[in-house]
């Protein structure tokens, strides 16, 4: 008896010279919610399609509930996919859509009716049985898609960017809905997205993918605070980048100006890229409030709804700094930007 509901072992998908999935090894536990996060072309969707049975690996083994499923078509796998477009059958009503998978499994009609009604309650769409997909909003359609997949009680739910076609408010609402359903029903899931916010909020673990490989797989907070690579760090959120050279114990920018920076660990000599999240900078007018500090001039202030973003020029460097309350600083004001050394990450 396997602990994992899904195991991928050195799974590979290659079209001629193009490697879409490059030796991916990962396991998903029962009841676990794992997200594959990455930019387009990183292989996350291909990996999901391999699990769903829409593509077949050119190497490696896929096991679902301990059983190898290589070569098994989608209709003979115990997985259910929620597609990006919802992929509802346009000529069938909501009830017929949800019942489809049960009919294919030859579930008796009475039980189908009962389970469809129950599922409509769960996704908060009671009374929508006889609607056609064209008569519903995008968010409602995605709920039906969710219900259609959940109703067959698959071993594993597969989400293929199901929120990416929705507008922001709906996206957040449905995201919370999925999280609630996961907590209530305890299904196992693999979720694919390019939105790191979705990944962090929904998942037990997140796998960041790039060029067909998994760069790092960890709990969301670990991933955010201790990224294993420059790619993971930059993909997890916006950042300031400082290109510097280290030589003779001093850190200089590319123009040769001395930067009074101290890092937790000393840096070896050579060129480095230092990164810093905009929210970790502190602005003050006279005295620095953290150990690393630069004198800057405000070049632009952006209002971004829930916060303000200050664009700063410091010697040859440009920094962004997010603060929640508006400061009494206008464009051209002098300011001191400071931050903790521990908030800075260096890559070379």
């Amino acid at each position: 008896m396997s602990e994992s509901i899904l195991e991928l072992e050195r799974v590979r998908l290659q079209y001629g010279p193009v490697v879409a999935v490059d030796d991916v090894t990962v396991a998903v536990g029962r009841g676990e919610f794992v997200t594959l996060l990455g930019p387009s072309g990183s292989g996350k969707t291909s990996t999901l399609r391999l699990v769903g049975g829409f593509e077949h690996p050119t190497g490696g083994v896929i096991r679902i509930a301990g059983r190898p499923v290589n070569g098994l078509p989608a209709n003979r796998r115990d997985t259910a996919t929620i597609f990006q477009s919802g992929a509802l059958f346009p000529h069938k009503t909501v009830a017929e859509n949800i019942a489809y998978g049960l009919r294919m499994r030859r579930v008796p009609a009475a039980e189908i009716a009962r389970r469809v009604a129950e599922m409509l309650e769960i996704v908060a769409l009671p009374g929508f049985e006889h609607r056609y997909p064209a008569e519903m909003s995008g968010g409602q359609r995605q709920r039906v898609a969710l219900a259609r997949s959940l109703v067959v009680r698959p071993s594993l739910l597969l989400f293929d960017e199901p929120l990416s076609a929705l507008d922001l408010a709906l996206k957040l609402q449905l995201r919370a809905e999925i999280k609630r359903l996961h907590a209530e029903l305890g299904f196992s899931a693999v979720f694919v997205t390019h939105d790191q916010g979705e990944a962090l909020s929904l998942s037990d673990r997140v796998a960041v993918m790039q060029k067909g490989r998994i760069e790092q797989i960890d709990r969301p907070d670990t991933l955010y605070n201790r990224p294993a690579s420059e790619f993971v760090y930059t993909f997890m959120g916006e950042s300031n980048r400082l290109d510097v050279t280290v030589g003779g114990g001093a850190i200089r920018d590319l123009q040769g100006h001395l930067l009074p920076l101290t890092l937790e660990d000393g840096l070896a000599e050579g060129a480095w890229r230092l990164y810093l999240r905009p929210s970790r900078l502190h602005l003050s007018e006279h005295e620095p409030v953290r150990s690393n500090a630069l004198r800057c001039t405000v070049s632009m202030v952006e209002f971004l709804g829930d916060h303000f973003r200050y664009h700063l020029a410091c010697h040859g460097l440009r920094l962004m700094c997010d603060v929640s309350a508006k400061l009494g600083l206008s464009e051209g004001s002098d300011v001191i930007a400071s931050w903790d050394g521990a908030d800075m990450r260096a890559y070379r």
Partner: protein, 275 residues
């Protein structure tokens, strides 16, 4: 400047409408006039029409030769439609599932017969199958050989229309069906067929109309016993121009119109069910 532009625009538009009007009359005239003439009571084709009657309709449906030709036309068209739709739809489905150089070449291959004039196909099939026997029967002169010949035009038309339709299907919807446990055949029956019903019916109508009206191939491939209505009309055109031919023309157009109306009402009923 602005005024003169206005005037040119109006003149151009008026000229365009004039062309449209003339072409409308030109297009409607022969059809309308055949319709009117079919109700003439006279023996000969001349204007003005002196008396009105249905005698030529009685004459048409009382003539075994014309009724046989009508039956031949319908049987051949139905057969050609079944062949075209079955073969064309199957090919379109296979080709639409893939996209590479080979499918491009296959599509082109399917289209080739459309570029060959009917007279050439008719002559060629007559020469090639003139003495071929199938199941102990001469193939030449049968309705079956005409069905095959007409399918050469019907099948590519169906193939073109259905391939576009199949390609426009949402791939994710088909995958969703597989994902929920339906095999390829169930998916085709449950999901694909209802979606492409309109296209299949339209392409069937298309190949049916092409076969009903086609006469170059039919002329070369039929005998007195199997000749179609257009062939019979062509052969009687020079010898006996009578209002009976007008009735024949009206009958042909009615067949086409009735099939159009059947198609439209079939589609409308479906819409109501869905709405």
């Amino acid at each position: 400047m602005r005024r003169s532009g206005d005037i040119t625009a109006r003149l151009l538009w008026a000229a365009g409408l004039l062309v449209l009007g003339v072409v409308s009359v030109y297009v409607a005239l022969p059809v309308a006039i055949a319709f009117v003439m079919s109700f003439s009571g006279g023996q000969i084709l001349r204007f003005p029409i002196q008396s009105w009657s249905l005698r030529w309709y009685a004459d048409f449906f009382g003539s075994p030769q014309y009724v046989d030709a009508l039956v031949n036309t319908l049987v051949i068209a139905l057969g050609a439609t079944v062949l075209s739709v079955a073969a064309g739809t199957a090919s379109a489905w296979a080709i639409s599932r893939r996209k590479n150089l080979a499918t491009g070449a296959l599509t082109l291959l399917h289209m080739l017969p459309l570029f060959v004039p009917g007279v050439v196909l008719g002559l060629g099939i007559a020469i090639t199958f003139g003495n071929v026997r199938l199941f102990g029967m001469d193939l030449y002169g049968t309705r079956f050989i005409v069905m095959l010949a007409h399918s050469l035009w019907g099948m590519p038309l169906v193939m073109m229309l259905m391939e576009t339709t199949f390609r426009s299907l949402d791939r994710q919807v088909l995958e969703a069906s597989r994902d929920l446990g339906a095999g390829p055949f169930t998916t085709f029956r449950e999901i694909v067929l209802p979606e492409v019903r309109t296209a299949i019916l339209s392409s069937a109508l298309f190949s049916f109309v092409v076969s009903v009206n086609e006469f170059y191939m039919a002329l070369f491939l039929t005998t007195r016993d199997t000749q179609t209505l257009p062939v019979l009309m062509w052969l009687s055109l020079r010898s006996a121009g009578s209002p009976r031919l007008a009735v024949a023309a009206v009958v042909l157009m009615t067949i086409v119109l009735v099939s159009l109306v059947l198609l439209a009402s079939g589609l409308r009923r479906k819409e109501r069910v869905r709405g």
